[in-house]
């Protein structure tokens, strides 16, 4: 994520270091306003990490390229938000991405759930990408009116990208859901597995309330009618039932993650943890 220009073999200095020690995590204590933006940035970042796992492994080459292209957009969106929050807190984007501990990540649990590496189905990747992209699309459209000019500018770009993210994901949901008996069965399984984690996307707490009051951005619950409409329309075309709401609530946005998050961070952060400040 760093500057592109350092000459390639930067390992010259890194290789002399002993990669046995682990870099200390930064002490990050965001204000409610910063936490609001970090929830969005972290959700983009972790979703990108999971999508990128399909690089070289998607069922067809076109989808391999598609999922990693979407991941690239999401990393860019995360970079913009993390850099923005970093300017207020004295950290750079790399420190925020690679040197925060698990409890300081505030992404929705939905995006950290196992991906390809845990043997989860391609249908899971597709359904999750659809549910999340639709949410991001509704959110970015609202954030274009943010009282924070930088956030509004980031959203102005991201909303365009999220449009083709949803379109691409929705196309696949219809194709798989309304496909063969086997693809339908597996898509339904994916919906059943992932649906309980969507409730968290519409929870309300003090962070949401503060953001809404200051005009920074909408409360998550305010996104629900539009998200419901997109999901209902696409699921209807895909022949999928919209599951009923349940009582389960995941808590990633509060920093309390599933058991999968530690493994994800270990892989995402290992390089910076082992070679502090290493440049690409």
């Amino acid at each position: 994520m760093s500057t592109a220009f350092a000459p390639l073999p930067t390992t010259a200095s890194a290789s002399t270091a002993t990669p046995s020690t682990t870099t200390e995590s930064i002490a990050f204590t965001p204000t409610p306003t910063q936490a609001y933006l970090m929830r969005i940035g972290d959700t983009c970042l972790i979703h990108a990490q999971r999508l990128a796992e399909w690089s070289g492994h998607a069922p067809i080459l076109e989808e391999d390229i598609a999922l990693t292209n979407l991941a690239l957009d999401l990393v860019g969106q995360a970079r913009a938000l993390l850099t923005h929050v970093g300017r207020q807190t004295g950290f750079d984007e790399d420190q925020l991405a690679f040197l925060r501990s698990e409890r300081d990540f505030v992404n929705a649990t939905l995006v950290e759930l196992p991906g390809r590496k845990m043997g989860r189905d391609f249908a899971d990747a597709i359904v999750r990408n659809f549910l999340l992209s639709a949410w991001m699309n509704v959110l970015w459209a609202r954030l274009e009116q943010s009282s924070d000019a930088e956030v509004a500018a980031i959203a102005g770009k991201a909303v365009k990208e999220s449009r083709y993210h949803v379109a691409h994901a929705a196309d696949w949901v219809v194709r798989l859901g309304d496909g063969t008996d086997e693809s339908t069965r597996r898509t339904r399984q994916a919906v059943a597995r992932l649906w309980p984690y969507t409730a968290e996307l519409f929870e309300t707490d003090a962070v949401d309330t503060a953001a809404a009051e200051s005009g920074l951005g909408p409360m998550r619950v305010a996104l629900k009618p539009e998200w419901d409409a997109i999901v209902a329309r696409v699921f209807a075309q895909a022949g999928l039932d919209v599951p009923a709401a349940g009582a389960f609530r995941s808590t990633g946005t509060l920093g309390v993650h599933s058991e999968h998050m530690g493994y994800l961070l270990a892989e995402m952060q290992v390089l910076q943890r082992s070679f502090p400040g290493g440049q690409w």
């Binding site: 500057t3 592109a4 220009f5 080459l61 076109e62 390229i65 598609a66 292209n69 991941a71 690239l72 957009d73 999401l74 990393v75 860019g76 969106q77 970079r79 913009a80 639709a134 699309n137 509704v138 459209a141 000019a149 930088e150 509004a152 500018a153 980031i154 102005g156 770009k157 991201a158 365009k160 990208e161 449009r163 083709y164 949803v166 379109a167 691409h168 929705a170 196309d171 949901v173 219809v174 539009e226 409409a229 997109i230 696409v234 075309q237």
Partner: protein, 172 residues
């Protein structure tokens, strides 16, 4: 050393940037692409204002460096590149000349995206997303092979008339 008059410095900088090619689509320049939004002469420093194409475009840093190198090489420096996010870049900013260069290079240029702002009303897309004319033979009988291509900004098509595959610069 005497520097050229301010207006001339800015005009010359625009000319210089007209020759700085996009690293991912080396057929068109950064000014053809419409990402150079402003050039401001602060006397001591020449500021080049650039709007990024895609949030995750990996060429952003390369483009900034190429701009600085060209401006400095032309003796117009010292210079700095600043980013302006809003309003967001759109393919509608690609100049007519840039579109023609794309076509000549074998990339179908983007259509207008003014009507593409579907917002939340996203419909599932189908393989025949929109009519894109083949940049080689001009036929409108084309089909999309892949929504994504070698770079974030392009998708892959095939011409049914002349059988040639080609890239399409997606409207955004």
């Amino acid at each position: 050393m005497t520097s050229p008059p301010s207006g001339a410095r800015v005009t010359r900088a625009w000319d210089v940037l007209h020759g700085v090619l996009d690293p991912e689509v080396p057929a068109i320049s950064v000014t053809d692409l419409g990402i150079v939004r402003d050039i401001i002469d602060h006397d001591d420093v020449l500021e080049v204002v650039v709007t990024p194409t895609y949030s995750g475009c990996p060429a952003t840093e390369v483009i900034d460096a190429a701009i600085l190198e060209a401006v400095n090489a032309a003796g117009l420096g010292p210079a700095r590149v600043t980013q302006r996010r809003a309003p967001a870049w759109t393919t509608d900013w690609i100049t007519p000349e840039g579109r023609e260069k794309l076509r000549a290079y074998g990339i179908a240029p983007p259509g207008s995206c003014a009507s593409d702002a579907t917002g939340g009303n996203v419909q599932p897309i189908r393989l025949m997303a929109r009519n894109v004319a083949c940049p080689r033979c001009g036929s409108a009988q084309t089909e999309r092979l892949s929504a994504f291509g070698s770079t974030a900004c392009k998708s892959l098509y095939r011409c049914i008339a002349c059988r040639e595959p080609f890239e399409h610069f997606k409207p955004i």
